[in-house]
């Protein structure tokens, strides 16, 4: 018979997607996870991954074709060596770790005169560019929960990528002025009929890469009450007329947009157009737009970089001063043009997520990978730095997709004798500062 010595329930902040649900309850039994309440499959998986056997466990340094195990100090020393001898190192990732670690990363990049970029540059970077070009009318998610009577998901499928978004913040949530989904309407705009589209009051199927035209046409219909003279072939006017009617009836509307807008066509033009449309709509009623950020702390990475340097991502310190020019200083641009000679990835997997044409350029580059899990990047790396899982085994601060800061909590004590991202980076920073 098993005797239960110790069973406690801890409140957790889910470190998976931009929803950053903070109502997750984990029951621990003798320090082991017994059950997880309120989490979606993604969050559940992430929290359980702490006990997974597929982890980076050892500090490894490449030697010939093999990797040999070293102590943490040796690994830090070697990391500092590589970083200091690099001509233009790029420090990339940062979206799956705490703001505290991101801050240290920026300091390291500044001392090294390297480049600091986060995963924003390949997901919502275009939204940040559009924000700089024309500004974003936005709000926190609670405003949607309490007020929104029309919700539009554009190029985003929350059921697959942000499973609890509907229930906690939007369509199925219960708020002060809109008590249930019977009073809310939902429009989904996508290139294919997604699972969310099946639940929508109206689904508008658009042709791939035609979003800019669709938004412009919708804008024209809303502004002038009629479709434009010259109709774009890709756009279904009837659909948009119906959507415009719903939009004009709404008291409080929101557009959630995902990679379906940021990654297609000329991403930032899509968003310029969308923001412009939202500004127009504010003449009739209240409208806001919120990006559906992927990683749980990618918003934090933008915020930390913005207040530390003035720029949200792709910050190049190589001349001593921060310089920001997406199209020249993002990881994709730099790797493609062979501008960097060292890639340090922290809590990300550039080799597994960047375009093939860019990944092929990293052959021959020195790579340092800091990650709790094995990835194509750690496989190819010259130095592997294992860490604890931020948000499960260690705490910190993270920002939700709408910019609300929420503390991450260490849910369980790790059985592994490893350091957190923050502690490891602090060691690296100390080593570098001392050597300089």
């Amino acid at each position: 018979m098993k005797i239960i010595v110790n069973r406690i329930i801890v409140k957790a902040t889910c470190p998976y997607c931009g929803c950053l649900c903070d109502d997750v309850e984990v029951t621990l039994e003798d320090g082991e996870i017994y059950s997880i309440k309120n989490a979606c499959p993604l969050g559940r998986m992430k929290i359980n991954s702490a006990t997974s056997n597929v982890r980076n466990l050892k500090y490894l340094i490449k030697s010939g074709n093999d990797k040999i195990e070293v102590t943490v100090d040796e690994a830090v020393e070697e990391t500092a060596n590589l970083l200091l001898s690099a001509d233009k190192p790029i420090l990339y990732g940062w979206s799956n770790t705490s703001c505290e670690a991101q801050r240290l990363g920026l300091k390291i990049a500044k001392i090294l005169r390297g480049v600091w970029d986060n995963t924003t540059s390949v997901c919502h970077g275009t939204a940040a560019i559009a924000t700089a070009e024309s500004g974003i009318p936005s709000a926190t998610l609670g405003e949607v929960k309490n007020r929104a009577d029309l919700i539009i998901y554009w190029g985003s499928n929350p059921l697959e990528a942000h499973p609890r978004h509907f229930k906690r913040y939007s369509y199925y949530s219960k708020g002060r002025f809109v008590s249930n989904n019977a009073r809310r309407k939902m429009i989904v705009i996508d290139v294919r009929e997604t699972s969310a589209a099946r639940l929508a009051d109206k689904f508008i199927q658009v042709k791939p890469n035609s979003d800019y035209k669709v938004i412009s046409t919708l804008h024209h219909i809303i502004k002038f009450g009629e479709p434009p003279e010259r109709k774009a072939a890709e756009v279904n006017i009837n659909d948009l007329m119906e959507a415009a009617k719903l939009i004009k009836e709404a008291k409080f509307g929101v557009v959630f947009f995902g990679l379906g807008l940021t990654m297609t066509g000329y991403g930032y033009c899509n968003l310029d157009a969308l923001y412009s449309l939202i500004r127009e709509l504010n003449r009739f009623s209240k409208w806001v737009t919120i990006p559906m950020r992927g990683h749980y702390n990618v918003t934090g990475a933008n915020i930390v970089a913005s207040y530390m340097t003035g720029f949200p991502f792709a910050v190049d310190f190589s001349t001593g001063k921060p310089y920001y020019n997406p199209g020249e200083t993002t990881i994709i641009d730099l790797l493609y043009h062979n501008e960097c000679d060292l890639l340090m990835s922290v809590a990300a997997d550039p080799l597994g997520t960047l375009p093939g044409e860019v990944v092929s350029k990293t052959i021959g580059m020195k790579i340092i990978a800091q990650d709790p899990f094995p990835t194509p990047t750690t496989e190819a790396a010259d130095i592997v730095l294992p860490t604890l899982i931020c948000g499960v085994e260690t705490g910190g601060t993270a920002y939700r997709m709408d910019g609300v800061p929420i503390p991450l909590k260490p849910i369980l004590k790790s059985r592994l004798n490893l350091l957190s991202d923050e502690e490891l980076l602090k060691k690296i920073l100390e080593r570098i500062s001392w050597r300089r």
Partner: protein, 108 residues
């Protein structure tokens, strides 16, 4: 056949992304096609197809998905499919991961 490639996420992909990436190549190696398109290139569920763009190509299994519009190929995003994605300078660092023109063919 020429087609437009859309990459997107799924719950299963999301589950694998942290820590179980090695399972992606076996679990997520298929691409969704409209049944009419499948007829056009003469494949059945589970048949192997090749997706090509310029010099890069990847091999996946075809899967029928009647909700997809004609001419669209939907692949769950994973390291393998990224190999098809090019660099485009005027996108300011963004990867053109959706709406990419590719060539799809049956492997005999």
């Amino acid at each position: 056949m020429k087609a437009i490639l859309i990459t997107a996420r799924s719950i299963r992909q999301g589950e694998l992304i942290e820590g179980l990436k090695h399972l992606m190549s076996t679990e997520l190696n298929f691409c969704d096609l409209n049944p009419e398109d499948m007829l056009k290139i003469d494949v059945k569920n589970g048949d192997k197809v090749v997706l090509r763009r310029d010099n890069s190509e990847i091999f996946l299994k075809a899967r029928c998905n009647p909700t997809l519009p004609l001419g669209l190929v939907y692949v769950i995003v994973h390291p393998e499919v990224n190999k098809l994605i090019p660099y485009n300078k005027s996108l300011r660092g963004m990867m053109p991961g959706k709406g990419l023109e590719i060539e799809i063919e049956k492997i005999p």
